[in-house]
């Protein structure tokens, strides 16, 4: 009954979004403001409707309604309530609904803003948002109904939306439950964060399409959506980092990124999103790259749809995969149609997107931003190639060939290094014109500092050439960014008479985009330190030990003490926990408790490492095996991951940086006078 109600509301939502699309188009074509307003109201209606739908589903999830197929698949009696709620996005059908719900929320948020200056955009933003929504809700209604119930017929038990003839409702005693690997806080927020990022990118895309359709191809659409883009990027970054952290904490292979096609699918929109964030600045400052920005946001949108599809349908995992269910071709159809339509619109407005100025200097900031974009696009091409290569090779050679992490590392390594170098010199370049001399003058001091640091690293730590190049570039960017930041604060201190800390604060507050950007770049350097540490210098060892035995690794001594095993029946888990003592140079550092948890309902093991984290490194101990009688010993696998916590600390600073960059300005927005763009040389401090 309740499930039927949920499905009914879902169908109504679908019809409302369709109405909104047609009303908006009709209203715009027939110049009827009333119809456009009706479309806007319809779109506002979708959020309460979808909230009701979602609420129904959550009710079913929390109250053990196992006759509903989705509830059966993703919950079980032993799961705590909060996990049952989050199981909403634990399966295909539910997560599609979650996507639609988020989309309706954001679309509503957008329509609630002040539209006075941009009335002509409204109908088309509604159309794009509602077409996207209609697609996802349609997936739910026609192909992946979260409210389908299990009925027993002569053929067995199967899910149906409508009760078939001669059948009875089948209610299993218990559900299958969420895979224990997913019952981790990181895994609970990771999908919502990713989806928040994905869905937020639809808004800039909608405005871009509105700009193309209405012919208002100046950078108004960019200015309106600037914050949306930043927030989208924040959520997407956070989602990716959380996924990495989860893998590190729970999957027990001592790593955080596996270059799995599913990971890459979520990473690709991040790449184009980052490129987009930079290149829109060129359009705003110099009136260039308008075609390119349009292309980028279209690509981001389609990659978002592609990413959603890949991360949820397990499509690339089998040997000869592509479309495993009916959903596959539909997604591709949708991506294809939107791509073709959007590109057609760019071609239609080609002339209107002409650049206002020319790029004349190869070292100007816009040229370096262009280079930045090319590098990001190159990394994207590498990723995309790696993901589709198996299909291409099969199509053309009949042989199935695939690539793994070594491919991505080899092909993207030099590109990342080039990007690092660019991050070092771009803040020193000027809009319009820069020469080797002006850049060199600004660059030589940080460069010397970076060389000095690298020499010190070489003497005291390592002669690994990749590490040295990496740390040199990181040091360079750090020094340049800090130097630029300090110069700004110092100038302010001298001119305003503020003390240096107040100067820093006010400087950042007055120019949040620039200094937020510097903070983000700084945080990426911290993350790079962490990545270089763990990727190049990870140590591992394993061994079987009896009580009192020790394993030595990288200066640590890990002494095995005991192992104990006990059941937690209400939670449905058996815990086996080992206790090890950690020493370094004879000094006792503490205890670690590596664990193996066994979940009865899914017959699934989970390996939880005992981890000692410092900024210098992680000592990461896994309990691999043990003998039931504790005295006989256990098998431990131990990793030492140098510098890895810089990665996590860096990502926190990253978030802070984005928040600063996105924070609304105190002062009202200034309208750029077009004539400014023809300015000759601007100074290095813009």
């Amino acid at each position: 009954m309740i499930a039927d109600f949920g499905f009914g509301v879902l169908v109504v939502s679908f019809l409302v979004t369709l109405y909104s699309v047609f009303a908006a188009i009709y209203g715009e074509v027939k110049k009827s403001a009333a119809m456009v307003e009706s479309a806007r109201r319809a779109m506002l209606l979708t959020w309460p409707l979808l909230t009701l739908t979602a609420g129904t589903l959550i009710y079913l999830l929390v109250n053990n309604h196992y006759e509903v197929q989705f509830v059966y698949e993703v919950t079980s009696r032993s799961m705590p309530t909060y996990l049952k709620v989050t199981a909403w996005w634990g399966g295909q059908a539910g997560s599609l609904l979650f996507w639609s719900w988020l989309m309706s929320a954001f679309a509503s948020l957008v329509t609630l803003r002040n539209w006075d200056r941009d009335r002509e955009f409204l109908p088309w933003v509604i159309v794009v948002a509602c077409v996207t929504m209609a697609f996802f809700i349609g997936m739910n209604v026609f192909f992946e109904n979260p409210f389908a119930q299990l009925y027993q017929t002569f053929d067995g038990i199967n899910p149906f939306t409508f009760q078939p003839a001669d059948s009875i409702l089948f209610t299993p005693q218990d559900g299958r439950g969420l895979n224990p690997l997913l019952r981790h806080p990181g895994m609970v927020i990771h999908p919502p964060m990713l989806y928040l990022g994905f869905v937020s990118f639809v808004i800039p895309y909608a405005f871009a399409m509105a700009a193309l359709i209405t012919g208002r191809t100046d950078d108004r659409w960019i200015r309106i959506t600037r914050r949306w883009t930043l927030w989208a990027w924040l959520f997407l970054t956070f989602g990716l980092v959380l996924g990495g952290r989860w893998a590190y904490d729970v999957l027990g292979w001592g790593g955080y990124w596996g270059w799995d096609p599913v990971e890459i699918a979520a990473f690709m929109p991040w790449l184009t999103g980052t490129a987009f964030l930079h290149s829109v600045m060129i359009q705003e400052k110099r009136g260039m790259m308008k075609h390119w920005n349009m292309l980028l946001i279209i690509l981001t949108y389609d990659l978002v749809i592609f990413g959603t599809f890949l991360t949820r349908s397990g499509v690339l995992s089998s040997v000869h995969a592509f479309a495993q269910s009916a959903i596959g071709p539909l997604f591709f159809g949708f991506i294809g149609i939107t791509l073709i339509t959007s590109v057609a619109l760019i071609i239609y407005r080609w002339a209107a997107l002409k650049s206002e100025t020319e790029m004349t200097s190869m070292l100007s900031r816009e040229a370096l931003f262009l280079l930045n974009n090319l590098l990001f696009m190159s990394i994207l091409v590498v990723c995309f190639w790696g993901v589709i290569y198996p299909l291409i090779s099969e199509l053309f050679t009949g042989e199935k060939v695939t690539v793994g992490p070594p491919f991505y590392e080899r092909a993207t390594g030099p590109l990342w290094a080039a990007l690092l170098f660019l991050m070092g010199i771009a803040p020193l370049s000027a809009w319009g014109h820069s020469t080797v001399k002006t850049l060199g003058r600004a660059l030589w001091k940080p460069a010397v500092g970076a060389i000095a640091i690298t020499i010190a690293i070489y003497i005291y730590f390592t002669n690994n050439i990749y590490a040295l190049i990496g740390f040199f570039l990181v040091a360079l960017v750090l020094l340049v960014t800090i130097y630029e930041y300090w110069r700004g604060a110092y100038a302010r201190q001298r001119s305003q008479g503020e003390n240096i800390f107040v100067a820093f604060w006010n400087l950042t507050g007055r120019n949040r985009r620039r200094y937020g950007g510097y903070i983000i770049h700084l945080s990426i350097m911290l993350m790079a330190i962490g990545i270089l540490g763990i990727e190049l210098f990870q140590k591992e060892t394993q061994g079987t030990v009896t009580a009192g035995d020790s394993i030595d690794i990288a200066g640590y001594t890990v002494t095995y003490r005991e192992v104990a095993s006990w059941d937690d029946t209400p939670k449905g888990v058996n815990y086996t926990r080992a206790v090890v003592d950690v020493y370094q140079n004879g000094i006792y550092l503490g205890e670690l408790h590596p664990r193996k948890d066994f979940y009865f309902d899914s017959q699934q093991n989970m390996t939880i490492p005992g981890n000692r984290s410092t900024m210098k490194d992680d000592l990461y101990v896994l309990l691999v095996d043990w003998q039931p009688i504790s005295a006989d010993g256990a098998t431990l696998k131990i990793y030492v991951n140098p510098l890895v916590n810089w990665l996590w600390m860096g990502s926190l600073l990253f978030m802070i940086g984005i928040v600063i960059a996105a924070w609304p300005d105190k002062d009202p927005e200034h309208v750029t006078v077009r004539a400014d763009r023809q300015l000759k040389q601007t100074s290095a401090a813009d």
């Binding site: 027993q152 899910p159 299958r176 027990g252 040997v319 060939v401 695939t402 092909a411 699934q604 691999v624």
Partner: protein
């Protein structure tokens, strides 16, 4: 005139990227095969980078905790989706694969911690190479999360 600088620069980057992709693909690509396809290739495939998928046969799983050596056998599972659908879906195909004695099997050896997801009828994707005796030495073991492809409906009671 000035435009040429950028075009040349762009082409150089394009060339560099193409080279990077080409060389990385050539040196790191792996054949992705089913067990039947592996056997068909015979000795030509020895010591080449390979990725094989198959269904894990539970009773063959052996783990020596002292040396952290894991050995198990996998049974051939078709890689063709259409074929899998006629067999009743991936879960059913894996089930049939381990039951069918006539299916080709492959012995896999892996050194490392016992993976949590390794169990009877799991889909294993192993990366490594096969030696002259036909034993697969795995560098990497990928096991599919069972909830992704298990039966969407429960077994009937009784």
């Amino acid at each position: 005139m000035k435009i040429n600088k950028f075009v040349i620069g762009g082409m150089l980057i394009l060339g560099a990227v193409v080279f990077l992709i080409w060389s990385a693909t050539a040196s790191t690509s792996e054949y992705f095969l089913t067990i039947d396809e592996l056997n068909a290739k015979g000795s030509s495939i020895v010591d080449k980078n390979l990725r094989i998928s198959g269904a894990v046969i539970g009773d063959t799983i052996q783990y020596d905790a002292e040396t952290l050596t894991l050995t198990f056998e996998v049974a051939h599972v078709s890689g063709d989706n259409a074929q899998l659908e006629t067999e009743g879906g991936l879960a059913e195909a894996l089930h049939q694969a381990v039951l069918d004695p006539s299916r080709s099997r492959l012995k896999v050896v892996y050194v490392g911690p016992m993976p949590d997801l390794l169990r009877h009828e799991a889909q294993a994707i192993v990366t490594g190479h096969v030696d002259a005796e036909g034993i697969f030495h795995a560098d990497e073991l990928l096991l599919k999360c069972p909830t992704k492809y298990e039966e969407a409906v429960p077994e009937q009671a009784g």
